[in-house]
């Protein structure tokens, strides 16, 4: 932690945010507008310095001559294209922490107007959180000088796994979401002081939906990246780091729905306060998980040993205490009885929370028990919960907000009964799957099929109900689009993941293999540079052919196998390289026996004619323990040369390989003679290569993309509506 001209702004920002908090608190006691003005100026200065530091770091990345900064040296290089020089900023933990803190301070600047309060407490709490985020930036120090630097160094370059457009934009979008959630606790605190739940819900909604939108879009980009680049053919692996970004998204979704009920009826204010705190804590927890390294044995994401884990825990504890006090202080204001639809929205939120809790439990399971957990746990539990959730969503989409007593089909009794029945059916399916998982593969398969089929039917019901609701105007367009998007996404994930990949083996160029309706021909193999091998295939279907270039790249993090995806209306053909194995065998192999005889006259070895080599082998030494023999090879006019052949190491002379086969021993002709020897094989070496790729046909992948696009579109429309409403109210 050395202060230099580079990191000076972040330290100054830290000091300013600390004093901003103090001044906000002081303004509470002396109720002096001057004190609160000073506090606001300090907060603005702190934020500007932080934003400046972020832009400054980016500028140093772009300059291409600051490899004396360790962070830039590790994540960038002169040769990187512009986009990856920019994305180097968030390629590691130090830079992404700075970006996150800077983004949070930007949202803080926008929120000053809404969080301003005569007590100063809401903004004091914001400044407190900003102080901790900046403190962690200062400790991690993205500007740390590189100890091993010498002139002429050009940087290692961005990790090749991250060199992808989707990956360049995925982290900052996630961080935008994380950054917005810092506002949730201060808004709740303001509501607790004012005892004004209505304004709270209305003021928080735009930020909440914005955070939910960014986080959702960021997760979607991560899914695209996982599918297009990582080469394993999936979208979501239930990896701890992925799950960590899912918790705040699910909780924010639940909070959003609770706020809807709160604004209509005044109920569930305490629950909303708990969820507001939880959302922010889970964001901190996600950052903590990736920094502490406690899950490094269970995740594909890389973890760095970082000392900042403890500071996250301190911040989490403080946020928890503030949340606890807020929740106690906030009062539910029952203004009206809940209608059927409001009840359903509440119950749906509860199911989102249950889902988040179950995924959370599975994610921290390895930390608590030390054992890994099969990802099937997540699939089963989330599918089971989703079945009930879908029914609730479908029914609540169709019915109107205002109670309609005449509607017999959607009477409260019928709705309640159907939810209870679906919950028990879903629990029975989870139970059956759990029981047969390890005992009976056939029954397990059929129950899985049943479970996913029920889920797909319910998801289709949600789509149908959302479309009906559009005509009946029972639901906002943004909500209907998001709900259809989520349903399509899940349907797409279930159907596309049903495919089983097959391994295709090619023994030579021009070799072709038929997979489903495709004829895949191995065309050529090119080594483009020292680290990259391209395998080019010609993929034909219905006389239409196209080239597929699969590549295997050696990187400092290991092998990167880039897949090729051929998209059709019915689904994707997913080809990914597996391995190129070299095998060698001998052709025209001949066996020879070399012997040596010990008699009274000493060792006597006879040369054996090897016609292939136009020379002679003579056995010189035998070492039974090490399973090796020494032979001498003599040829006309040449000095004999000695070779050692061992059990697992053969010798090459010209184009021929000489292999050791076995030891021999026998009694000699007379009693005094002992003959020992070894058999060897001589043959021409024939190297053959086997290129193996994995092929899978993934049906209806476009449904996944359509679903993601609709979720993002629905989120965008909702953000637009809330900001529009919020602006209209303030003007």
């Amino acid at each position: 932690m050395i202060i230099s001209t580079d990191n000076f702004p972040i330290w100054l920002s830290l000091i300013f945010s600390f004093f901003a908090m103090i001044y906000y608190l002081v303004s509470r006691w002396n109720e002096n507008t001057k004190t609160s003005k000073i506090a606001e100026i300090l907060q603005i200065l702190s934020s500007i310095l932080l934003i400046y530091a972020c832009i400054y770091l980016l500028q140093q990345f772009l300059s291409g001559n600051r490899y004396d900064i360790e962070y830039i040296y590790k994540h960038s290089s002169v040769a990187d294209p512009l986009i990856y020089k920019i994305s180097g900023l968030w390629a590691g933990q130090e830079g992404s922490m700075l970006l996150w803190a800077a983004m949070a301070s930007v949202f803080g600047l926008f929120a000053i107007k809404y969080l301003r309060h005569k007590t100063g407490i809401p903004l004091a709490i914001f400044s407190l959180f900003q102080f901790f985020l900046v403190l962690i930036v200062c400790i991690e120090d993205p500007f740390k000088p590189f100890a091993g630097f010498h002139r002429g160094m050009i940087g290692i370059g961005l990790n090749p796994v991250l060199q992808n457009v989707w990956m360049a934009v995925h982290p900052p979008v996630i961080f935008l979401g994380y950054a917005v959630f810092i506002l949730l606790p201060p808004f709740a605190v303001k509501a607790a002081i004012d005892q004004d739940n209505m304004s709270w819900a209305k003021e928080t909604m735009p930020s909440l939906i914005l955070g939910w939108f960014f986080l959702g879009a960021g997760i979607a980009l991560g899914m695209v990246w996982s599918y297009e680049v990582l080469g394993w053919g999936g979208f979501w692996a239930w990896d701890p780091v992925e799950n960590a970004s899912l918790f705040p998204w699910l909780i924010a979704g639940a909070l959003f729905h609770i706020f809807i009920v709160l604004t209509r009826t005044g109920n569930f204010a305490k629950l909303a306060s708990i969820l507001s705190t939880l959302c922010f804590i889970l964001v901190l927890f996600a950052a903590f998980l990736t920094r502490s390294g406690i899950l490094s044995d269970f995740s594909v994401h890389s973890f760095a040993d970082s000392k900042t884990g403890v500071y996250f825990l301190i911040t989490i504890t403080i946020a928890f205490v503030i949340g606890l006090i807020t929740t106690v202080k906030i009062k539910n204001t029952h203004t009206s009885q809940l209608s059927s639809k409001e009840k359903l929205v509440f119950i749906g939120s509860i199911f989102l929370i249950i889902l988040a809790v179950l995924i959370f439990a599975g994610t921290i399971f390895p930390i608590i028990t030390g054992d890994a957990l099969n990802t099937d746990y997540f699939n089963t539990m989330s599918s089971g919960i989703a079945i009930v959730g879908c029914l609730i969503l479908a029914v609540s989409s169709i019915i109107a907000w205002k109670e309609n007593k005449k509607n017999k089909l959607f009477s409260e009794k019928n709705i309640n009964t159907s939810i209870v029945i679906s919950a028990f059916v879903s629990m029975a399916l989870i139970f059956a799957r759990a029981i047969f998982n390890t005992r009976n593969a056939d029954l397990f398969f059929w129950f899985s099929m049943l479970m996913y089929s029920v889920l797909v039917i319910f998801l289709l019901l949600v789509i149908l109900a959302s479309l009906i609701s559009l005509f009946r105007k029972n639901q906002k367009i943004s909500a209907a689009i998001s709900h259809v998007g989520i349903s399509l996404l899940l349907i797409g994930l279930i159907i596309s993941s049903a495919s089983v990949p097959e391994r295709l083996s090619f023994s030579s160029l021009q070799d072709s293999v038929i997979f489903k309706d495709w004829n895949i021909e191995f065309v050529s193999k090119e080594q483009t540079d020292r680290n990259t091998l391209n395998l080019i295939f010609d993929v034909k279907k219905n006389n239409k052919s196209r080239k597929a270039n699969l590549s295997v790249e050696q990187t400092r993090e290991g092998e990167l196998r880039k897949p090729v995806i051929i998209t059709t209306l019915t689904g994707d053909l997913y080809l990914s390289p597996v391995e190129i194995s070299q095998e060698s065998n001998l052709i025209d192999e001949k066996n020879y026996t070399l012997t040596t005889t010990i008699s009274n006259d000493g060792w006597l070895s006879l040369p054996v004619n090897i016609p292939e080599l136009n020379g002679y082998f003579t056995l010189e030494k035998i070492n039974v323990e090490q399973k090796s023999i020494t032979i001498s090879y003599s040829k006309e006019n040449l000095e004999p040369i000695e070779y050692v052949i061992t059990d697992n190491q053969s010798v090459f002379i010209d184009d021929y390989e000489i292999r050791f086969l076995a030891f021999l021993s026998s009694e000699g002709h007379s009693q005094d003679e002992i003959t020992a020897g070894a058999s060897i094989a001589v043959g021409k070496q024939n190297k053959s290569e086997k290129t193996i790729i994995e092929a899978a046909f993934k049906p209806l992948v476009w449904v996944v993309w359509l679903g993601l696009a609709l979720i993002v579109l629905g989120g965008f429309l909702s953000v637009r509506n809330h900001f529009y409403n919020s602006l209209r109210q303030h003007t």
């Binding site: 054992d371 957990l373 089971g384 009964t417 629990m427 759990a434 095998e583």
Partner: protein, 126 residues
């Protein structure tokens, strides 16, 4: 159904999902095992065995695409492993492996091999 009944049913449903979650965890946990006695205790369930690769015993059968090798646990017992599939990349250079599969009382029938390079094994990445 009156409110009280609904409330009770709600609690039962939430408790039901929680219990099922725990049951699933019990069924699907894949214990990390490093000794032979641990394998015997967990026979026929999916486990992850971590140990040192005994390379002298490794053999690849082309005809059935199966890799055989042995793995040495913390208690110095070597356990045979069979893995159907191609030889994983980095197999020849790795010292340690985590083998996921089931132990049949004689050998581990693996469905996945995770190779740990020495640096990662020490817990320091990058």
């Amino acid at each position: 159904m009156n409110n009280k009944t609904l409330y009770i049913l709600g609690v039962i449903i939430i408790a039901g999902f929680a219990i099922l979650g725990v049951l699933e965890m019990q069924q699907l946990k894949t214990p990390y095992i490093t000794t032979k006695s641990g394998l015997i205790e967990n026979e026929r369930r999916t486990i992850q065995f971590m140990g040192e690769i005994v390379r002298e015993d490794s053999k690849y059968d082309d005809k059935i695409d199966t890799l055989y090798f042995s793995i040495k646990g913390d208690d110095n017992n070597t356990i045979p492993v069979s893995y159907k599939g191609t030889i994983p990349a980095n197999f020849d250079t790795s010292e340690n492996a985590v083998v996921r599969g089931k132990y049949n009382g004689n050998m581990i029938i693996a469905d996945n091999i995770l190779l740990k390079c020495p640096s990662k094994y020490e817990g320091k990445s990058k």
